[in-house]
């Protein structure tokens, strides 16, 4: 080993980490025989420690861990025998539920159930998958997560502030939930799903407005999608955003 080679190796040496690792160990040994390299090595120990320490000083936002946990879309659990048993039990329960559903009178997958489900979701609370005021970023996030992202917004809705989005599921079909804020005390929720997800519903571009407790919902079809716009308040309020 010569001096240029030792110098080249030492440039990527991490003091205390690579000391006994090839080829750093050989370069360090060589440096002991060269005054200039020896001095650089001693100084590098201090420089490396100082820079490492300063990177460790980067303050982590207090609420970050909570935000990560709140926004995860699907809780991930590692596989285990116990978990597999739980999955089996859950599958049986689902099968029983489906059997009940198949033999129960009346459709459960109609637009009224869908609207009621969405309104209940809004009223009872939810987690947003992404919090952002950037409309383009929201659309890109949804596209990346296989949720409807080719939605169009009415002019009044497009003038509000986007807050974020969530990806939901309705009978196995991905549903996009978009959140907007118009006034400090008024949020809007727009849900978009493939029209095929809700059978027995004739395409209707004219919004139909229903009231569910304190909330109103406008529902219409456009471009192969079913839209539901929900807002707290009476029909006149939701109509003002169409």
């Amino acid at each position: 080993m010569d001096k240029p080679e030792a110098a080249k190796i030492l440039l990527s040496w991490r003091p205390g980490v690579d000391d006994n690792v090839h080829p750093f160990a050989e370069a360090l040994a060589f440096a002991q025989s060269d005054p200039e390299l020896r001095r650089w090595v001693e100084e590098e120990r201090i420089r490396h420690g100082a820079i490492r320490g300063k990177l460790g000083e980067i303050e982590v936002p207090a609420g970050l861990a909570g935000a990560i946990l709140a926004q995860r879309p699907i809780p991930f659990r590692p596989a285990s025998t116990f978990r597999q048993l739980l999955q089996l039990a859950a599958a049986l329960i689902v099968l029983l539920g489906l059997a009940f559903h198949w033999f129960a009178p009346g459709p459960r997958n109609d637009i009224a159930h869908y609207e009621a489900y969405l309104t209940k979701l809004v009223a009872q609370g939810y987690h947003m998958s992404l919090q952002s005021n950037d409309a383009a970023r929201i659309r890109s996030f949804l596209a990346g997560n296989q949720a409807p992202s080719d939605y169009s917004l009415s002019k009044p809705v497009s003038l509000t502030t986007p807050l974020g989005c969530a990806t939901l599921s309705w009978n196995g079909n991905p549903v996009t939930m978009l959140c907007f804020r118009d006034k400090p005390d008024r949020n809007l929720w727009l849900f978009v799903v493939d029209r095929q997800a809700i059978p027995n519903r004739a395409p209707n571009p004219e919004p139909r407005i229903d009231q569910f407790g304190d909330y109103s919902a406008a529902t219409w079809e456009s471009g192969g999608r079913t839209y539901v716009l929900t807002v707290k308040g009476g029909p006149d309020i939701v109509r003002s955003y169409l």
Binding site: K3, P4, E5, A7, K8, L10, L11, S12, R14, V17, D18, V21, E36, L37, W40, E43, I46, R47, H48, A50, I51, R52, K54, L55, G56, E57, I58, V60, P61, L64, A65, A67, I68, L69, Q71, R72, P73, I74, P75, F76, R77, P78, A79, S80, S129, L130, S132, N145
Partner: protein, 174 residues
């Protein structure tokens, strides 16, 4: 499949160092938080595809770095200047210059490095894992990683030793 930590444990174990890595790359709290959250979001969506959860940390760093590069490419096209310094020349900067330097200023200098040098150099300082693992995180050959660290360090030390003379090493729009 190896049994691994729960999602909550994984967050608790790694979110701080992931955030610090992200912050060193983007130099912005909102963007660093967003990158960290997006990394765990991707884990929650796809992490179960990882057969060996002992590799979770490396997977998370790889994912964060990939997200950073994707956003950076979208945000701006860039080119980097090859430095003229020979690779074997040891850069000089007095240790006490760095010791006395405010962490924020050091991060400013790091942020001026071309991203191809910035990520390897930050991991060089932050991580104590073997270089083979850092190469895996960056998806680069081992030799390229070490070469970029060397060059990145030469540029950084040159900036630190003469803060007013850094124009030739900064990122420029391509």
């Amino acid at each position: 499949m190896t049994s691994g930590p729960l999602f909550e444990n994984l967050v608790e174990l790694h979110y701080r160092e992931l955030y610090r890595f992200a912050y060193s790359l983007v130099r912005n709290e909102a963007d660093a938080s967003d990158l960290t959250q997006q990394t765990f979001f991707i884990w929650a969506s796809k992490g179960h595809q990882l057969r060996d959860t002992a590799q979770a940390k490396s997977w998370l760093f790889t994912t964060l770095h990939r997200e950073f590069l994707q956003r950076h490419r979208r945000a701006s096209r860039f080119s980097h200047h090859e430095i003229s310094t020979a690779e074997h020349e040891l850069p000089q900067v007095m240790p006490d210059t760095i010791q006395k330097m405010d962490a924020s200023l050091l991060l400013d200098f790091l942020a001026r490095l071309d991203p191809i040098y910035r990520a390897p150099l930050v991991l060089h300082y932050m991580e104590e894992t073997p270089y083979k693992e850092i190469a895996a995180i960056l998806r680069l050959p081992l030799g390229t990683v070490q070469s970029r660290i060397s060059r990145g360090k030469q540029i950084l030390y040159r900036m630190l030793s003469s803060p007013g003379d850094q124009a030739s090493t900064e990122v420029s729009d391509g």
